[in-house]
């Protein structure tokens, strides 16, 4: 390779890139939590809801799992304004990522619901629990431990997925990497630094999730 690596032209931009990493994390947390709530609601509907509601949820899941996230955000970002709904770039990306994550998290949590024993649900129903009470006091404590690892994986996927936000004017880590690259033309240096930041970001998240899982649910997760 005839290319000489000159990191000194890029290192001055690292604080700017780290600022983008904070935005990346923020976007991942918001979209994951919103997606988890959507997924929980949908899984409840799939398990306890009437047939029309179940069909609606199945339609939502089918649509969002079988279309690319890029297309979904493009629709929110560029098509909704023609219908009078103009969202900021950040809001458009956060909503798109939440709806997309919601579909995957519906499937994950639906599997958790199916692992419940019928007798537990019957007992709670006999005691007069409403569906929200049933989900909150009976279902969630039972499935939390089993679902914690796949939910953690989904969070790490969310962190990676945020890079798509750069296309929609959100200056997260990848967006800022493009900006630095266009200033310095040092692609190899810029994107190798960004790769290291992503690795550190996901490692920190994995350790934090593993510790949280151990503390909350006694889940023994391996990080390395």
């Amino acid at each position: 390779m005839n290319y000489t690596l000159i990191y000194s032209q890029v290192t001055g931009h690292i604080p700017y890139l780290l600022g983008g990493a904070v935005l990346t994390l923020q976007l991942a947390v918001i979209s994951f939590l919103a997606g988890w709530a959507i997924g929980l609601l949908n899984a409840s509907v799939l398990h306890f809801g009437p047939r029309p509601a179940r069909l609606a949820v199945q339609g939502y899941v089918t649509f969002f799992i079988n279309t690319p996230l890029l297309v979904q955000i493009f629709f929110i970002f560029f098509v909704l304004p023609d219908a009078g709904i103009l969202l900021s770039p950040y809001a458009a990306v956060a909503i798109g990522m939440s709806l997309n994550a919601g579909a995957y998290l519906t499937e994950i949590q639906r599997a958790g619901f199916q692992s419940l024993r019928r007798e537990e649900i019957d007992a709670a129903t006999a005691m007069g629990f409403s569906v929200p009470q049933l989900v909150w006091y009976v279902v969630l404590p039972h499935i939390a431990k089993a679902l914690y690892p796949p939910l953690s994986n989904q969070f790490i996927i969310q962190v990676m997925t945020t890079s798509i936000a750069a296309i929609f004017a959100v200056e997260e880590l990848t967006g800022r990497a493009y900006n630095v690259n266009s200033l310095t033309f040092r692609s190899l240096e810029v994107f190798s630094i960004v790769a290291v930041i992503y690795v550190l970001l996901t490692l920190v998240c994995s350790v934090a999730l593993a510790l949280l899982g151990r503390w909350l649910f006694r889940v023994k997760a391996r990080v390395f």
Partner: protein, 274 residues
Amino acid sequence: MTDRRALFAGGAAAAAAAATLLTPKDAAARSLNDVLSGGEIRVGVNPTLPPRALFNERNQIDGFEPEVAAAIARKMGVRLALQPVGSPERIPMVASGRIDFVMGAMSRTSERAKVIDYTVPVHSENYGIVAVQGRGHTSIEALNKPEVTLAQVRGTTAIAYIQRAIPNAQVLLLDNYPDRNRAIAQGRAQASFDGIDSVRFALRPFRQVQWEVTAVPEFGVTYSGLGVAKDNHSLRNWLNIALYELHTDGTIERAWEKWFDGPMFTKVPASPFF
């Protein structure tokens, strides 16, 4: 021979064949006499930059550059062979003699002129402001306000200028020009500062919007010529004379107006000296 060895031998043969096909052959630049005696001139045009060149509804290369190239071929009395080229390979294509000259927004720069030679300018390249009409976004001063958002394409040369000359405006960095235009049309941004030559063509899909395009000559005007191989003086001299005639009889300006929906923002004066 085992299956694995057979596979390896087959792969090696395929790689050797591919290498033979893909290795660039030495091709010398053709002089004017070579082109005339060959009866064909090979011209590189860039269909990724419409309307400079584009594929029409019959999937044929069309546009401003093919039209000018056809006029040159007619003057020369030879057949025209258009070769689509992208931005990265357009200079290597002409430098290696695979095409006789290249069009494709060949802005003349001292750096490029170390590798290829240029004819006199064919057209100018201008920067300016694209905005919705009647909002007053027609000067750099009018844009330099915090309430103004400029939609720009990430990685383009205008961004450094904006950071320097329009520091108070917000900047919305998008991925491509259609998205930029859509963002302004939808009110997500008020204006954009960038190259404006092709913008009227690019804004055609947004007919419901009244656009205002204002040239900002203080940014600097560049000029695009035809790129020919280094030291191919006979061809370059002939092309200079042909371009003078095409400028003076209005062929180039008419083709420009037809494809770019209006006159050049900076006219190219026809010079008899070169």
